[in-house]
């Protein structure tokens, strides 16, 4: 075990999960302590994962666990967004009465599963990580179990996710049968010709993965789960699992099956187009902001997949850039959603935003920035994210994909702009509380600032991401 220093962040995470559990059992009323310690843990492992930047890629455990530039970047993004998700939702958890010791522990174990997924270079390791993260997510979705909506969302997510896991496992078994190994590198060297068994296996695994990132036509769970779960879990759902699943998408498509690109490219293009159109159209009629964000995330996943469909390094990089900026935009939007509360109650429909600008100019400005950015209006970060995707797509002369993407952006702009219109031009309704905790303010201000000022120095992120070379 000479290379153990490459997985210090995962080891620290696993040990601190167990340690925090023990502290929680033996110390009475320690929810707050454990919550803060979990944030500290995430901070520590974020720094640990930063220390891996620039090192050569290594693989551990007989080549089944890979630490390379991609995994280090994605893990850094994962841990950082985990920190901000936890910082922003403290007050919500207390007021919603789900501030229990198990909550941060489940979050941490889910993050552990995701980092295993990100580094996996083997079908079994990938599946184990997937199960670890989704098992924790089932519980988190139904964490407010007295609330029927939350219980429903947990159950729905559990049943559908179990089904997709079954399909995914079937795909894994087909690939193992036809390629003779579960290791991505060995599969890649064993594939000599197009084989329909393998193609079927790829299809099944793509179905499972598409379910995890809620791409159309496997999106049915997303709106209900987003709406039903507590908002603190919804923000988690909207951000972290997508980072992990996108990384697995990249690794799975581009390491073992790069030679079969003709086989899977059509599938990815279909998933991408369907998600972009459906996400844009279905969100128009929504009244609940969380539900609307579910459809918006479906549409955004469509764009991220469009980058993957291209089949070049530029495509992958544009997709990763899109994902990073998507994380920041969602963080900003959900942070402002956390601010809509009066006394004990949180508000989450579009009508509640009516006339927000009169009483809360700063909050409205932040929402304006994040919504404009989600709609992809220059010069905000969301525009650049979409710009990179379109550039990569057009370079490969996939004009149809680009045209559909542009059209769906126009449709999607309608419902984002409608929210802005409600905020700025409708009659004012109610005053919301202004006593927010520091973490929430910090995450809102930081994420909004990044979105608004991204255009000043866009090459910073690009230069980091352009080092990710897969093919």
């Amino acid at each position: 075990m000479t290379n153990l220093n490459f997985i210090y962040s995962e080891l620290t995470l696993a040990f601190s999960i167990m340690l925090l559990l023990i502290i929680g059992v033996f110390k009475k009323k320690s929810s707050s302590l454990i919550y803060n310690l979990s944030i500290l843990t995430l901070l520590i492992i974020f720094i640990l994962s930063l220390s891996l930047f620039g090192k050569n890629s290594t693989s551990l455990f007989i080549n089944s666990y890979k630490i390379d530039y991609l995994s280090t970047f994605m893990k850094g993004l994962l841990y950082l967004s985990g920190i901000f998700v936890m910082l922003s939702s403290t007050r919500y958890l207390i007021l919603f009465q789900i501030f229990k010791i198990e909550y941060p522990i489940l979050l941490l174990s889910s993050i552990l599963g995701m980092s295993i997924m990100i580094s996996s270079n083997d079908l079994i390791v990938f599946y184990m990580g997937l199960e670890l993260q989704s098992l924790a997510l089932y519980v988190l979705a139904s964490f407010k179990r007295e609330n029927p909506l939350s219980a429903e969302s947990g159950l729905k997510y559990f049943v559908l996710s179990a089904l997709s896991s079954g399909l995914l496992l079937y795909g894994c078994s087909l690939i193992y049968g036809y390629a003779g190994s579960t290791n991505f590198d060995i599969i890649s060297s064993n594939i000599n010709s197009v084989n329909y068994g393998l193609t079927l296996g790829i299809v099944f695994i793509l179905v499972g993965l598409a379910f995890k990132i809620s791409a159309v036509p496997f999106h049915m769970w997303a709106p209900d789960v987003y709406q039903g779960s507590p908002t603190s879990v919804t923000i988690f759902f909207a951000i972290l699992p997508k980072i992990a699943a996108l990384t697995v998408f990249i690794r799975f498509l581009y390491i073992p099956f790069i030679n079969l690109i003709d086989q899977w490219q059509v599938i990815i293009i279909f998933l991408s187009i369907a998600s972009m159109i459906f996400g844009a159209v279905a969100a128009i009629g929504q009244k609940n902001l969380k539900r609307l964000m579910a459809y918006s995330s479906i549409s955004h996943m469509g764009f991220a997949l469009a980058g993957l469909a291209v089949g070049t390094n530029e495509g992958i990089q544009s997709s990763i850039t899109y994902m990073s900026l998507y994380v920041i935009m969602n963080l900003s939007f959900f942070s402002s959603l956390f601010m809509l509360k009066i006394n004990q109650k949180y508000y989450e429909t579009i009508d509640d935003l009516s006339g927000l600008s009169k009483n809360h100019p700063m909050l409205s400005l932040a929402m304006l920035v994040s919504l404009f950015s989600l709609a992809g209006i220059p010069p905000l970060a969301g525009f650049f994210a979409k710009f990179y995707i379109f550039m990569a797509v057009i370079e490969q002369e996939m004009y149809f994909l680009a045209i559909v993407g542009l059209l769906s952006t126009v449709v999607a702009a309608f419902y984002y702009l409608r929210i802005i219109k409600t905020i700025y031009f409708d009659e004012e309704k109610q005053k919301y509380d202004k006593d927010h905790n520091l973490g929430l303010k910090l995450s809102l201000i930081l994420s909004t600032l990044i979105i608004a000022t991204y255009f000043i120095y866009p090459s910073g992120l690009i230069s980091i991401i352009s080092k990710i070379i897969i093919i």
């Binding site: 455990f61 489940l106 174990s109 295993i116 079994i124 924790a136």
Partner: protein, 214 residues
């Protein structure tokens, strides 16, 4: 070899018959019993095939835990007397379920799938030679599984441990309720009781009885 094949056929026969009986028996509890019988005979087949570890694990996990759990659930739900019928009869007004024809159809399909799998194996002998398994005869199953599980696949072993931990936490979070007014046992309080806090000496007057203020 003859004895071995006789045993093989006996076990297979029992396994098949009990699998059929699981679906056709009218009493749900009987179905679970047949399920247990099925598991047992399959684990016997495993052991005969030289996979004694798998057979024993099958016995412990499926018979010892899963099937007994099924039995408890079935008995608690009190669905033992639910009538199973092959087809929904329109004449009788009794409660009948029509799961059987569908189940039968699916099992026929699975049966044909199995034929395809076995046939494919038979007509493709290079499949079995492609397997580069390094099994040494002197080692037991348990030994050879352990020697890879705790070395090459130690990370998977540990991750499964984490998964089990998470599932345990989840089960507790979702079911545990702190109710008010519930009398709980406190070992510490019970043990730290002393004589002078629990025993009182009362002088009893004759013919008057005792009145203790509670």
């Amino acid at each position: 070899m003859i004895i071995q094949s006789i045993f093989f056929y006996i076990f297979s026969f029992i396994a098949i018959v009990s699998a059929i009986m699981v679906t056709v028996s009218r009493n749900t509890v009987h179905s679970v019993f047949f399920l247990i019988l099925d598991f047992v005979s399959i684990s016997c087949l495993f052991i005969m095939g030289g996979a004694e570890f798998l057979g024993m694990i099958m016995l412990i996990v499926y018979v010892g835990a899963v099937a007994v759990l099924f039995l408890f659930v079935v008995m608690m739900l009190n669905v033992a007397q639910q009538e199973n019928a092959w087809f929904q009869s329109k004449k009788s007004k009794e409660k009948t379920s029509s799961h059987i024809p569908i189940g039968f159809l699916i099992s026929v399909i699975i049966f044909f799938e199995l034929i395809i799998v076995v046939g494919g194996w038979k007509f493709k002998p290079e499949l079995s030679t492609d397997l580069n398994l390094s099994l040494s005869i002197g080692e037991t199953n348990t030994h050879s599984i352990g020697s890879v599980l705790y070395t090459d696949y130690i990370h998977l072993f540990q991750i499964s441990g984490m998964i089990l931990l998470v599932s345990m936490i989840g089960a507790i979070v979702l079911t545990y309720q702190k109710r008010e007014g519930l009398k709980r046992q406190s070992y510490f309080k019970q043990i730290s009781r002393e004589r002078d806090t629990s025993i009182e000496i009362v002088d009893v007057e004759k013919n008057k009885g005792v009145k203790i203020d509670a």
